[in-house]
Point group: D2
Chain length 368, copies 4
């Protein structure tokens, strides 16, 4: 595979460049019978739109999705769902400098090495706009998971030095701040930090956490397609993510077994864990506790400061990147992390249906 396809059961293929005519995704393997219309998807796309925040690119796109196939009379038919979003706000003039120079922190140089040339307009395929297809498909995956009682919730956990602890909050609170932090005080601090970064023509990074509740125990395949391995691939495949943690994550390396093990206990409702250091995954399989993933996002590589670099003709030079770009990627990437997690989880949930002979037999007996 050339790598634009994700998932083997609920399988998505994204396409499109930042400044091409359009961008989109084909979803193959969506079960038939899901109620689906454009607004189900649009509400997810709107979460990654620049919006009116001053911390996001000034590029204004409607990013209006069209369903071109796979839905009939308001329900999915089981055949591929093609989703298309036209690009409407390309200002190619902004990007001519990139054609001849490699932007530090960007994929320009390795693209040229791999392909011999590249669509340099706005980053082409390596642009953050590529995630539109992921979000559009992820919205469908999340809707299916919701029918199974599984809910995903991603939020901004930190921006630069400002961090919040995981705690109870309303899901809606995430959308109420421009940072994606469901804590107004912390969000204001983060905004101050962002303003100082912008003042110094700089950018910054942050952390996104995604929690998933309602997952059945036993989802995941035990060796290479462990649930955590698939989630890690899903989240690390988002541009700018440089580290992925599950549960206690990096902290486990300093912990002791007696601290890190989660004790089991049983009550009438079933088996539970007293703690959740594992982040809901044991041996690559879901353990019934909430799944917790964290993505560490690097600072936007496009900054207004002048930087040292080289030209396509291998000459040392300096570059000052113009055009519009976000001082931070995190707030808009929150929904992308959530969607990639949904895609990975749904795929393994469907796969899990053929894990046991007795369940397969009774599945088909019910059809007779």
């Amino acid at each position: 595979m050339a790598g634009s396809t994700f998932g083997s059961h609920f399988s998505i293929t994204t396409w499109g460049e930042s400044h091409g005519k359009a961008i989109g995704v084909v979803v193959d393997g969506c079960p038939a019978g899901l109620s689906l219309c454009e607004s189900d998807i649009q509400s997810y796309l709107d979460r990654r739109k620049p919006g009116s925040s001053r911390y996001a690119t000034q590029r204004q796109e409607d990013d209006e999705v069209q369903i071109l196939s796979g839905v009939f009379e308001g329900r999915t038919t089981g055949t591929p769902i093609s989703l298309l979003i036209f690009n409407t706000s390309q200002r190619s003039a902004d990007y001519t400098q990139i054609a001849s120079c490699y932007r530090p922190g960007h994929a320009d140089y390795p693209y040229d090495e791999k392909y011999g040339f590249r669509d340099y307009r706005g980053g082409g395929r390596s642009s953050g706009r590529e995630t539109i297809g992921r979000v559009a498909a992820g919205a469908i995956a999340a809707k299916i998971l919701s029918e199974l009682g599984i809910e995903l919730c991603a939020y901004t956990k930190s921006i630069g030095p400002v961090s919040i602890d995981m705690a109870r909050f309303e899901r809606e609170a995430i959308l109420e701040t421009p940072t994606g932090m469901p804590d107004r005080k912390a969000s204001l601090l983060a905004e101050e930090y962002l303003s100082s970064c912008m003042a110094s023509q700089d950018s910054c990074g942050g952390v996104i956490e995604c929690c998933i509740t309602g997952v059945f125990a036993g989802i995941g395949e035990p060796v290479f397609d462990k649930l955590d391995a698939r989630l890690a691939a899903a989240v690390m495949s988002i541009g700018a993510v440089k580290a992925v943690e599950i549960g206690d994550g990096t902290a486990v390396s300093a912990a002791k077994g007696s601290e890190n093990n989660d004790a089991f206990f049983a009550d009438q409702e079933g088996i539970h864990k007293k703690t959740n250091h594992s982040g809901g995954i044991l041996g690559g399989l879901s353990d019934g506790s909430p799944i917790v993933i964290r993505a560490h996002v690097k600072p936007t590589p496009s900054i207004y400061q002048e930087q040292e670099t080289v030209s396509r003709s291998h000459e040392n030079c300096r570059i000052q990147i113009k055009g519009r770009h976000d001082p931070i990627i995190v707030p808009r990437a929150v929904v992308v992390v959530e969607c990639m997690a949904a895609l990975a989880l749904l795929d393994l949930t469907l796969e899990n249906m053929s894990a046991r002979l007795d369940r397969i037999v009774s599945f088909y007996e019910n059809l007779k």
Copy 2:
């Protein structure tokens, strides 16, 4: 896929349980013409053997590999290579307790939920012995990469609170300490820490770092099969790994763009970077700098302390795990991380051969 296969070009399928008759791997897609014999593989397997260290399980296995197919007159034929290692040291008596109780931190409970029952002897498929197949296949991948000038080197970066900074060291130094730390002083400190853990019937975790040199720029596929995404999946699929970092990893979330961007410069030999915060990967493609990956490994969940848990029949109970088990997984997992990285990288390196039409045309013209 049920998840025991990794890679699409150099594709491996592992099989086997801790206490079954044997354990093994089938490598499909190994190029023809590689000189290969058992000792090439054995030397890698020996690196994950318990050996004589007191920090490893007392289980003594020879883990002697046999090549059953795919090699003729000392060279690979291009057909599947079947590698088999008989299990010789099963003491099933040690494990009867696990049959009825779920060990905290282990996969016992979700396995039962997924499959309805499990091979409880020594963890069955979820045992660390499953990695034997990965290491055997990884030895072949590493040998091929070496022919292309690519070298991998993994080592123990930290154990509990004892950590070493990446610095120049001889590769051989890694094998000279029982911890896999190429720094004798640090290793002695780590051993002290390990001893104290053992004294308190506890276990501990650590960090493994893998560096890869000699990688061409442009390896990786730009969207879902990014080089970092594939490496993350590869490494996260190793049991006990709870976080994966590339380059600066988690530190990027607190950095500014001006700090995190690596400036390019050119000299007669080509294009280089002044720093390597990116860990050798930009936009999912290798950038020609050394690739740096870190895996955070949790403490061995099997500890001698009594723990709270539940039985298969959902009764609360206590468990005291007997038998032999390592107080730390890290030293033996070093070679596993190295092998998984080799497998992921080789796969994408082969895939990369069809990235450009001009190279495909000249490849086939050379055959005429």
Copy 3:
């Protein structure tokens, strides 16, 4: 995979229904640097259009292709190529009867069983219009193969009882008859036969043969992905194809070994075969001779005669299919067979690049 993707290196995903908004395909894995514009693809699509022939549906579609991504400054970039064709001539009124009744010979009944309902307009996803995506992608595959010196040529070998022998003819001759038979006399006879079928409100089938020249020896993978197995899957996946033959095909079952074996001989140019009973494939690998495939196509199931069938509510009933439909599928399917063969062959040709270590090493050494 839910089955709308074909190929693992040059990988295509088709989408769209007969009467949806549009129909299309995403090509992932197209090598960078191929000169490509809409007209390269349009010329293939035009070959499957109804055109002005009286033996084809009266539905008039322009089937005008748009390239939405993956091409920059006239060349492919290595990223996904999204091709879109709007449906412009839907007359849904014609198809209301199908909503409640299962057409004999069509997929209506099993679709309902599989998905619970179906897009009944014009056959929905099971319509022949689904092949538009295959042809659009196949045009690109054929262009790449052509750069490697490989040419494909499919033609109508028989229609009902009228059959022509494989013989030397100009490729252009195929396009000069309304039947796709490169023999005017035979074509006229076939047209007479078709007219008689139409007069009796009936339809008929035929045979399409595809010859491929210029293939290197050794293409194909020796076990499940044999070149003939992949070609058979590719061609059998076209609706209405009920048999696939390679070389002598069904005749081999009555032949003797001494007749069926092709003797080898060598001259200055290399190794050749005196005959080509094998159809260019030995042991699943190309043998350097022309590859010969034949597809047997069933009569169009839509006929104007009244037929017995059942309704969705399981009542016996009769159906008389209205609307526009071809009395024969063969002439329009010729280019579909050619394109599916191109897709299967290109995929294995790219895969073959990693068959030998020495060639991999020299490939990468050339890049230094």
Copy 4:
């Protein structure tokens, strides 16, 4: 994939050469809970053994299968099942001539072109012994299908000019003749024909038909992974098969629509077809009628007659093949066709479980 893996849900990977140490298969994705022991598999392997028939190779192998993993206390665990059969009757001395000469009708020449050299002992990987892995895995697939009420039955339909019509016969009758023809008179005629072939140092081909009953309507994926496409690939991937037919097969090209369409009718038990020209598949999905596949098998290419060929060093020469070989492949290939059909069908049957949202929801609700 390098092509030794078949199936994406019930996924098998075969390995081994004719004269290597052993031959085997790894089955990944077998559902947990299937009762399985060696004899379940052995009975299938015995059907492809040479046995005592004079129409089969004199090579005597026990082909005794060992289960090395994936089964615990008599039931499959859901983890990979590794099956191993040691090669015990290699007489390598017989095959030295093949090392330097290309046998007509065999894969020797394209293997050398592809890989640069080959394991020439007994055909190496291209030997019919490769099918042992398919049969061993197919035995498991057939057992699972049987639990779902699906039965497969393959038999010899023709040998050279001697052919039988499909008719009612006892399944056991297939095993009672040395030809695999469930008709004693026809079998005796076929044996006479075989004797005459042998007398003239020649070989012959034949036809194998496989019928599958009990298949639910709606199995298969509608585009590239049509049930017939997957079956065609499965059967065409068997060495020596040169044509595959579904239902009426090649006859459809001469039929009219009014003849070829199968009328539906309904009774209390459901929907049926009055005829079965479709061979149980419509639009790539099973239609509930028996599935009928035919494989046309070429004459054994190894014949005792002297043949013209070329040497590895490209010199024209003559070859007289010594050693033991079957005058016909068909009787031993019957079980191989049956097993490949089982593997293809099971894979799509498992895939079908995620076709409908309502069924997925109720599947998971039942687990709560």
